[in-house]
């Protein structure tokens, strides 16, 4: 078994123009920083990106927007940056907005081998347009399809050489779901340890879902809203 890659550039080297990618994270929390930087260096373009958010002007997926590598974003909440807004209004960028729980569940469905799920989110709204509605116990649900992504880029706190992953705090968010959902899943971790070092009871994502793993470097972990209380 050889899942360990030396760095992000090697791990993403076969991502081609037009690929569909999943990128973990909520806001800038738990994003695959190294993977995004490598995608920018690679110059790959016409990407469809499935990610809860689209970063800010100069960080996260915002970096890939600046270099015009993204053709389409599938997200629940976007527009924290001016370049995103400019590209959207000029028609350079396509955006599909979907409810956050639907986004999470469509990832989960892919990882659980289920073609579709039913959710009440969006019934009676423009999200429901063109979707099949089924009624269960008197309540309407939308049929939402599992995602089909070529690659998932996720970020974990620790991982081992078998690809087992452990996440930290709210940096977990979409990462384990996307890890399960990618046809090829690339995990970057803050600390890569030999198989056997992690407690099997404490692993969040089993390595069977993870195809490539590398230890990332120079994590910036930028904070979007720094809220604190003063020390007395």
């Amino acid at each position: 078994m050889q899942k360990v890659y030396a760095n992000a550039d090697e791990a993403i080297a076969d991502i081609r123009d037009g690929a569909t990618l999943m990128l973990g994270g909520f806001g800038l929390c738990g994003i695959p920083e190294n993977g995004i930087a490598a995608l920018v260096r690679s110059g790959v373009k016409n990407l469809t990106c499935i990610s809860n958010n689209a970063g800010v002007d100069d960080f996260g997926i915002g970096l890939m927007l600046q270099t015009k590598q993204v053709k389409k974003m599938i997200s629940s909440y976007v527009g924290e940056n001016a370049e995103f807004e400019r590209q959207l209004l000029s028609g350079e960028l396509e955006v599909e907005l979907i409810p956050q729980g639907t986004l999470a569940t469509r990832c989960m469905a892919a990882g659980y081998g289920m073609p579709a799920v039913f959710t009440p989110a969006g019934v009676g709204t423009e999200v429901a347009e063109g979707k099949e509605i089924r009624t269960f116990n008197g309540k309407d649900y939308l049929m939402e399809m599992a995602f089909d992504a070529d690659f998932a880029l996720v970020k974990a706190w620790k991982g081992d050489t078998h690809g087992n992953l452990v996440f930290k705090a709210t940096a977990r968010n979409f990462n384990p779901l996307m890890a399960m959902a990618g046809k090829v899943t690339i995990a970057e971790v803050e600390e890569l340890v030999p198989a056997g070092s992690l407690d099997p009871d404490q692993i969040h994502t089993p390595g069977i879902y993870v195809h490539r793993i590398f230890e990332g470097t120079n994590y910036e972990k930028r904070i979007e809203q720094r809220t604190v209380k003063p020390r007395n």
Binding site: G101, A121, V228
Partner: protein, 217 residues
């Protein structure tokens, strides 16, 4: 007329010991400041946390620990982290007892619009559609009218819908309203606000009981 803080303070009176509560961004977030002493309320943050604590002390911020508003926060004894699918799973399954969120418009049948203004930059619905589609108990915190005096408590929403027939109670700067089959039922007036002022500011069907007490703080 109630301030934003007073709207939050009034909503806090709806809390009951042991509740799991999801607070939206804006006025709803302020409800956390008015949880009664001795009451155990567990706050759910839909990015994957139950048991949200206060903001950290300066210098203790952890970039891996944020709330759904992307603010740095802390955990408290009993806190637990989970992924986004489980987070919306507990919401969808009706495990969250109370949801408090803001709105641009509410209709007298409980429809809510709070995610999109056509023609303006659209940022997305985030978790709002999931929350309103599944929560049993949804309280909306909002301003009763827009700046030009147009009512936001309507017969029918004019903005794109977030969810249908889901809001159970509205606390506005003018009063407290239960949403029932017959429309907005006026339960309490804000201090100094008359029933007539509320009638004039409400476009949707409004039921005024014989006794409408003034809010007590």
């Amino acid at each position: 007329m109630l301030t934003k803080e007073q709207i939050a303070q009034r909503i806090a009176k709806e809390l009951k010991d042991g509740m799991y509560v999801n607070l939206g961004i804006g006025i709803p977030t302020l409800v956390a400041n008015y949880i009664p002493e001795g009451m155990t309320i567990t706050l759910q943050s839909e990015n994957g946390l139950l048991g949200m604590g206060p903001f950290p002390f300066e210098g203790d911020e952890d970039p891996d620990l944020i709330n759904a508003g992307k603010q740095t926060i802390t955990t408290i004894p009993g806190s637990v982290f989970f992924d986004s699918a489980m987070s919306f799973g507990m919401i969808r399954a009706g495990k969250v007892d109370l949801t408090v969120l803001g709105a641009m418009e509410v209709a007298d049948n409980g429809d809510i619009a709070n995610w999109k203004i056509p023609g303006k930059m659209v940022k997305g619905m985030g978790g709002a559609m999931d929350l309103v589609a599944s929560a049993k108990n949804i309280i909306v915190a909002m301003q009763h009218t827009s700046r030009d005096g147009t009512s936001k408590l309507l017969k029918a929403c004019t903005l794109p819908i977030t969810g249908l027939q889901c809001v159970t109670k509205v606390v506005s700067n003018l009063g407290v309203f239960d949403i029932q089959a017959e429309g907005f039922v006026l339960r309490e007036r804000a201090p100094g606000i008359s029933v007539n002022e509320i009638v004039a500011a409400t476009d949707g069907r409004l039921v005024v009981p014989n006794e409408v007490p003034e809010m007590q703080f």
